[in-house]
Symmetry: C2
Subunit: 208 residues, 2 copies
């Protein structure tokens, strides 16, 4: 693209670095911002810089937080003996939205992915192991893995399972199967095969 | 969505104001930025603020420019007697990419749209009329309208045509018809009907 202005070109180049944003979309977004009031644009860029510079991560679960210890980890109404291990903060938000989970979380900050150069040392693995060691005040009874059903998710699950199996803790994963509303004929073979193999009594399958 | 951090919520809210960006996409973009180096994020927001605060518009054609008069308007190799009227800077870029136009531009900065509260006074109409007045040094011979084939585009075209018809200037619009590579059976009736009515000799239809 030939830009009539260097400033415009720079801004478009920065937006085009965002995931899923190409040159044309970037240009559309930049021209939209150009049409806004100066204060609005200022507020936009301040929000971004402030987020990056002042963001904190919960000392316990490593989720994004405004306090040193996040609301979930400091809540007394949460079951601290049940830890759900997730990839990132989006998964915490998704699970919180279901209102089906009353335990606490542990955010790994990614998944093991040799292709992208992400190994176990890049993730919050050691702190998870530390959390599982029984102390006087706290004993973890169950760890639920809620990781994506991808190669990276499975690799991470396999690695963590090996790390944790010597602890006296129940290790579970979220159920895999056919999604609610899913039509049988469109489901892939692996999911369908596994969902037959791991069939559950009818009473258990009813959503509460 | 329940955010675990106010900073995160703010940044997502700002991104979600962009056209075509919903809450989920905004969150994905913000989390991507959060994973980048501080300098990279700083560069991103500086590019945006700088663009908004320092941008200039060409005094002649009102296109985005770094100089008071843009490169196209100050070029001697351009045909200044031929003006192409477009909606915004994206259209200038699209036409420049075709390498088929050697005239100069006039950027209206929008289209007449009563629904959005945009009237002729919000657009660069008066400056266009001013440019068309013959002077000793410059005489415009033709104005080409390259506006979108939408209700707003047609309204603007109708209004401008009325304004300009008393000048001794040829007024043209870009050709409407079936796009190259377009299949006849999928073309809408209006386009197909008009393209039959305004058929052209075969020799003229060959692209150069």
């Amino acid at each position: 693209m030939n830009f009539s202005s260097k400033l415009l070109e720079n801004a478009v180049a920065e937006f085009a670095k965002l995931p899923g944003v190409g040159q044309k979309t970037a240009l559309r977004l930049v021209l939209h911002l150009l049409n806004q009031d100066k204060q609005d644009v200022e507020r936009f860029s301040t929000a971004v810089t402030k987020l990056r510079n002042e963001i904190q991560f919960c000392r316990v679960c490593h989720n994004i937080s405004d306090q040193p210890v996040c609301e979930i980890c400091s809540s007394h109404r949460r079951d601290h003996s049940l830890i759900c291990v997730v990839e990132d903060t989006r998964d915490v938000m998704a699970i919180e939205n279901t209102n089906q989970f009353n335990g606490v979380y542990h955010v790994l900050g990614g998944l093991i992915s040799p292709m992208d150069g992400v190994g176990p040392s890049d993730l919050q693995v050691d702190t998870l192991v530390e959390r599982l060691k029984p102390t006087d005040t706290n004993e973890v009874k169950e760890v639920v893995f809620a990781l994506s059903a991808t190669m990276e998710g499975d690799t991470t699950l396999f690695y963590l399972h090996k790390k944790l199996k010597n602890f006296n803790i129940t290790i579970t994963t979220i159920a895999r199967g056919i999604a609610f509303g899913g039509e049988l004929e469109y489901v892939d073979e692996i999911t369908l095969g596994r969902s037959i193999a791991t069939r559950v009594p009818y009473e258990n399958s009813l959503s509460k």
